[in-house]
Amino acid sequence: MSRLDPGKRVDFGRPVAVVRNRSLSLRLDIRSMLVCIPLLLAALAVAVVSLATGDYEVSVQQVLQAFTGDAPGLAQTIVMEWRLPRVLAALVFGAALGMSGGIFQSMTRNPLGSPDIIGFNTGAYTGALIVMLTVGGSYAGVAAGALVGGVLTALAVYLLAYRRGSQGFRLIIVGIGISAMLAALNHWLILQAELEAALAAAVWGAGSLNGITWEQAAPAAVVVVVVGLATLVVARRMQLLEMGDDAARALGVRAEPTRLLLLILGVALTAAVTAVAGPIAFVALAAPQLARRLTRSAGITLLPSAVMGAFLLVSSDLAAQRLFAPIQLPVGVVTVCIGGIYLVWLLAREARKS
């Protein structure tokens, strides 16, 4: 049957675009697209502003010229060597965090699910602290420490929670337990250190994009893109799991292997960001929820979450740089404030409605 009988059209209650040709057939939600595209443009606009402003003002025209190599010498260096890595990192890392948050919120079926239920961020901080306070803070060392700490913690939590399958509730409790232990350890480590070292450690712990270079940002960005694409492939299975293990398996999804894969992908996305920039809070939490409310979609959608995350982080980074200039705030402080304010506003609005 190649022609669709008009009586057999399905009404989804919202505008949908169907694309069909010989090799593929897709159903696209129009509202999601109408949200993602302007959001992406907005993020890019903020990015351009970030490239243009700072201690040395560069005009927007010069920024665009810099991409083709036509800008005057100093502006070229400033835009391409100093600012671009940071801005690009903000966009890519924000997308990674948004997507990671989406994965965890979908898996835990809870709007407050975050990569940290598996103790990753706290463990990463522990690893980084140990490196910073013993060996000294070389970038590579700290990043390695953060990665190792985070991954080991995530592994420990998963294994401890595994008992013929990682039941969601158990995963959360074990995550809390281990996170709390490591958080206490982190507090203690900070207390032991000299004030200056402790301050530097705390800045890292708040999550910061200060001083990011190409060498630092590029590998992480590659990881994010690859893992991000892999995640989009698994996205449908993730959505089916939201209906419960039984319903998903009845449809042919292998629940536990898929969950493990999603966990790995989610952790990988967070890990790439945390190793380079430290644990940046709240983007993973807020981006998927904001995206969901704008697109009015069912459950978590990954692409809008990613775009929203990129927008949030690049805006927060701009604020972090400009708010108290010349002092640079760690971007994590701004994201926590924005995220918290958003939640409060959301709750107050819900309260007024009911």
């Binding site: 190649s2 399905v10 169907v18 897709l26 209906m243 039984d246 398996r249 042919g252 069912a298 459950g299």
Partner: protein, 251 residues
């Protein structure tokens, strides 16, 4: 849609199933009659849901096997099994903000691939499923806003959209009021008689079972205590009597 392929054969051989430490059933041999509406009944915690879940490959048997058309279900790839056997689980979660059409469309997953996500067959299957269950008019509504009876029919539509010759239903009527229960049972009878699906349902109510089923499997304490076609002349099975009295050619 009429099912032109031969009716599926599902049976359990020497099945021992249980959870963690507890063994629920041992050495169970059950054969689901092809093309019929089979109902499994029994008191609470008699193992009927466990049996159904084992048939649907949700539980791994400790020993024995479940065979679908002669092949062990564990040997089939997950999606392939999902194309032949559909299951309506006891408790499923409707994601926040999902519309009826969206939920029913998810039932097409076993037939879809990465680049083929919404073919013409998919769309018509969904439309037909919604029509058969009478929820077409609710197509664009949010599932959260529906009544219990309507919601259950949407879930049945989702399983229907899967277009499987065999459908397993785990307590589909338990939380509905009487009118909706009858409505659903009539729908199942129609799916079986008119559309040719083989149905296996776990029901609580013996009266419903004897009225609608072609074949009843009665269980107690993990064992099949009686099996056979219900005697239609008795419109009610008296509570105190034995289940066997209500069945003809039982074993």
């Amino acid at each position: 849609m009429s099912l032109t392929t031969a009716a599926p054969q599902l049976h359990a051989e020497a099945l021992t199933i249980g959870y963690e430490q507890r063994v629920i059933s041992e050495n169970l041999n059950v054969r689901i009659p092809e093309g019929k509406f089979t109902v499994i009944v029994g008191p609470n915690a008699c193992g009927k849901s466990t049996l159904l879940r084992a048939l649907a490959r949700l539980i791994k048997p400790r020993s024995g096997q479940v065979l679908l058309d002669g092949k062990s279900v564990t040997s089939l790839p997950a999606k392939e099994l999902a194309r032949r056997l559909g299951l309506l689980p006891q408790s499923s979660i409707a994601p926040d903000g999902i519309t009826v059409a969206d939920l029913v469309a998810r039932g097409r997953y076993p037939h879809q691939k990465l680049l083929r996500q919404w073919s013409v067959e998919d769309e018509s299957a969904v439309a037909e499923a919604m029509e058969a269950t009478g929820v077409s008019a609710l197509s664009g509504r949010l599932v959260d806003e529906l009544s219990g009876g309507q919601r259950q029919r949407v879930w049945v539509a989702m399983v229907l959209a899967q277009q499987t010759p065999l459908m397993l239903l785990d307590e589909p009527t338990t939380f509905l009021d009487i009118a909706h229960q009858i409505e659903l049972l009539e729908l199942f009878r129609e799916l079986n008689l008119d559309k040719g699906h083989t149905l296996v349902a776990v029901l609580h109510d013996l009266n419903h079972a004897s009225r609608y089923a072609d074949h009843i499997i009665a269980m107690k304490d993990g064992v099949v205590v009686a099996e056979g076609a219900p005697r239609r002349r008795h419109h009610r099975v008296l509570g105190g009597g034995s289940v066997r009295d209500g069945l003809q050619n039982h074993r």
